[in-house]
Amino acid sequence: MNTIVSLLYNAVLNGTPLMFGTMGEVLTEKSGNLNLGVEGMMYMGGAIGLAGAFYYEKMAGSAANGIVAILIALLLAFIAGAIGALIFSFITISMRANQNVTGLALTIFGTGVGQFIGEYMRTKEGGYVVVGNGLKNFFQASPFPKALQDIPVAGKLIFGHNIFVYLGIIIAVIMAIYMNRTRFGLNLRAVGESPATADAAGINVTRYKYLATVIGGGISAIGGMVYIMTIAGCVWNHEGLAGEGWLAVALVIFCLWKPISAMWGSTLFGALLIMYLRVRLPIPSEIYKILPYVVTVAVLIITSLRKKKENQPPESLGLSYFREDR
C-alpha cells in the first residue's frame, strides 16, 4: 500500500514539469505551430527562474518571502520561455522559415542560454548556486495545512503536493474551457486547422499564432523552472533537464492535443521516470532508466496506427501561412 501511494505521489511530482511543458506545446500546436524548441525554452525557464529566486534571496536576505520568490521565479521563467517562443514566432510566422529547423535552433540556443546562465552564476558566486532551505521549502512543500495532509492516503495524494501541481491543474482546466467553450478558443482551433479559412472569416491569423505560441512557450518554460526548483533541488547541475522538453513534445501526441489529458499523461510518464527507484525489477538500473523513452517510442507507434478523424493533429500543423499564396 505504502509503495503504491509513494509511487503515485512521486509520479505526480515528477510529472509536473512535463505537464507544464506539454500544456504549453498543446496551446502552441493548436495554432498550427510545431515548436520543437520546448527543451530549449524549458532550459531557459529553469536557469532564469532559479537565478530569479537565488538573487532575490541574496538581496532580501533573511527577510526573503517564499511567495514572492515563487512569483518571481514563475514570472521570470514565463518571460524567458515567451522570449524564446517570440523568436520562434518571428522567424516562422513573420519570416515563414521551416518550423522544424527553427525549433531545433531554438533548442540549441535555449540549452546554450540555460547552461550559460547556470555556469555564469556558478563562476560569479564562487562555486555553488543553491537556494536556502527556507525558500526551498516553499517551492517543494504542500501549500495546504498539515491537518489536511495528515489524512491517511488521500491526504498525501490530494493535499500533499507542491504548489505547482495545483497551478498546473488550474491552467489545464482553464485551457480546456478556453479551447472548447469560448469564441477565442474556436477561432484558435480554426487557425490551426485551416488558416486560410480563419483568415477569410476575418480572424487575425498572425495575432492568434503569435499569442498562442508565445503564451505556450511561457507555460512550457515554467515546467523547466518547476523541474529545477523541485526535482533537481533548487540547484543547477550539468545534466540540465535531461530531455524533459522532448518528452513533453511526445506527450502532446499521446494526449491528442487535449490539456486535460496532459495531466494524466504527464503523471504516467512521471511514474515511468522514477519507477527504477521504486519498483525493483531484475534488470540493471541503467537499462531500467531507458524505460520512459521506450514507452514513448511505443506510444508514437500506437498513435500512428490509429486514424480517427478527431484524433489527428491540427491539419496545418507545421506549415506557414501566406495569404497571397497562389
Binding site: 529547423v101 540549441i108 513534445v249 514513448t296 497571397e324
Partner: protein, 362 residues
C-alpha cells in the same frame, strides 16, 4: 470610423532573384549574426572585438589549436553529410546522436575483443564496418515505422538517442567496465586507434571523401533524384513509379551508416575509448551545419569549420575571459536564427504601398 488607411507595405513572392543576389542576402545575415553576437558580448561586459579575437586566436592561432579545431570539425562535417539526404527527403532525422553512438559501440566491440588477435589494418576495417552496420541498424528502426505507418520520425529518432546512450552507460558500468567500479571502458589497444596524417587522425580524409561522394550522389545519381522527388511530394514520387517506402528506408540506412562511421572515427581516432557522451551533441549541431549550408556538401566544409572555430574559440574565451563556453551554443543559435530569417528576403519581396491620398482626392 471612415478614415481611409492603407497598409504601410505588403509582401509578394519573388520570382526573379539571381543566385548571387541570394548569396549576398545570406552574407548579410551572417554579418547580422556577428553583430548580434557582439552585442551579447557587450551585454556581458566584454569587449566584443577582443572576444572575437580570442575566439580566432584560440582556435586558429597555434598549430596545436588548429589541429584541435579540425578534430572538432571532422565529426561535424561527417554527420552533416550523413543527414543531408534525410533532410532533402524531408525526413527529420534528429537521431544522428544515437546513430553515432551505435556506430561507436560496434567499433568498440571489435576494438575490445579482437585487438592483438588480428593485425591493425583488418581490425580497423572491421571496426569501421561494424560501426557503419550498427549506425545503419539504429537508423533502420524509425525508418521502417515511418515507411510503413507514418510514425512521427522526429520524436522517434530522438528517443532512440536516449535509448542507446542509456545502453552505453550500462556497458560502461557492466560488461565492458575496465577497473571494477571505475565506470570506464579501458583505452583502446594502439592497433585499434586510427593512424594520424599531418598529426590529425585520418578521419578527416575519410570525411572529405564522403563529402565528394555525397555531392555526386545527391546531384547525379538516380538515388539522389529519387530523394529530391520524395522530398517534394510523396504523391508525385508514387506517380513516377518510385517506391517511397523503399527510398525512405534506403536513405536512412545510408545516413545511419555514415553516422556510424563517424562514431567509429570519434571513438577510435579522437577518444580512443567509448563513453556515453561519445556523440557530445554533434548530432544536433550537424543539423545546423547541414541547414546553413543549404544541404550543399561543399558548403558544409566551410560551415563545419566555422562552428568548430566557434566551439574551440569559446573554450579559449572561458579560460582567458571567464565567459562560460556554452556561449558557443548561444552564438550558434543566433547564427541559425539569422540564416533562417534571411531566407524570407530571398523568397519574398516587401513592397511599400504608394500613398493613395492623391488619387482619392481627385
Amino acid at each position: 470610423m471612415n478614415k481611409v488607411h492603407t497598409p504601410l507595405f505588403h509582401l509578394t513572392k519573388r520570382t526573379n532573384l539571381s543566385r548571387s543576389g541570394a548569396w549576398l542576402i545570406r552574407l548579410g545575415s551572417f554579418l547580422a549574426a556577428i553583430i548580434i553576437g557582439g552585442l551579447i558580448f557587450v551585454l556581458l561586459g566584454q569587449n566584443p572585438f577582443e572576444a572575437y579575437q580570442s575566439i580566432i586566436t584560440g582556435s586558429l592561432g597555434k598549430s596545436v589549436a588548429l589541429r584541435q579545431t579540425i578534430k572538432i570539425a571532422v565529426p561535424l562535417l561527417g554527420t552533416a553529410i550523413a543527414i543531408a539526404p534525410c533532410f532533402k527527403m524531408r525526413f527529420w532525422n534528429i537521431g544522428a546522436e544515437g546513430q553515432i553512438t551505435a556506430g561507436a559501440i560496434g567499433a568498440t566491440f571489435f576494438a575490445l575483443n579482437f585487438a592483438g588477435k588480428i593485425p591493425s589494418m583488418p581490425l580497423l576495417l572491421s571496426m569501421g564496418i561494424a560501426g557503419a552496420l550498427c549506425g545503419a541498424f539504429w537508423a533502420l528502426i524509425p525508418a521502417v515505422f515511418k515507411a510503413k505507418w507514418g510514425t512521427n520520425e522526429t520524436l522517434f529518432t530522438l528517443m532512440m538517442n536516449y535509448i542507446v546512450i542509456g545502453f552505453v552507460r550500462w556497458l560502461q558500468g557492466g560488461p565492458w567496465e575496465g577497473k571494477p567500479g571505475s565506470q570506464i571502458i579501458p583505452n583502446f589497444n594502439p592497433d585499434a586507434v586510427l593512424p594520424e596524417v599531418f598529426r590529425i587522425h585520418c578521419g578527416w580524409i575519410i570525411v572529405l571523401a564522403l563529402t565528394i561522394f555525397m555531392y555526386v550522389y545527391m546531384k547525379y545519381s538516380k538515388h539522389g533524384y529519387e530523394i529530391a522527388v520524395v522530398g517534394e511530394s510523396h504523391n508525385t514520387a508514387k506517380y513516377a513509379g518510385m517506391n517511397v517506402a523503399k527510398i525512405t528506408i534506403r536513405t536512412m540506412l545510408l545516413s545511419g551508416a555514415i553516422c556510424g562511421l563517424v562514431g567509429f572515427m570519434v571513438a577510435s581516432g579522437a577518444n580512443k575509448t567509448l563513453y556515453h557522451n561519445v556523440a557530445d551533441g554533434v548530432g544536433f549541431t550537424a543539423i545546423t551545419v547541414a541547414w546553413l549550408a543549404q544541404l550543399k556538401p561543399f558548403v558544409m566544409i566551410v560551415i563545419s569549420l566555422l562552428l568548430a572555430i566557434l566551439d574551440k574559440g569559446s573554450g579559449e574565451l572561458q579560460t582567458r575571459m571567464g565567459v562560460p563556453s556554452s556561449i558557443s551554443d548561444i552564438i550558434t543559435g543566433v547564427f541559425l536564427f539569422c540564416m533562417l530569417a534571411s531566407e524570407f528576403f530571398i523568397n519574398y519581396r516587401i513592397i511599400f504601398t504608394k500613398s493613395h491620398k492623391k488619387e482619392a482626392a481627385k
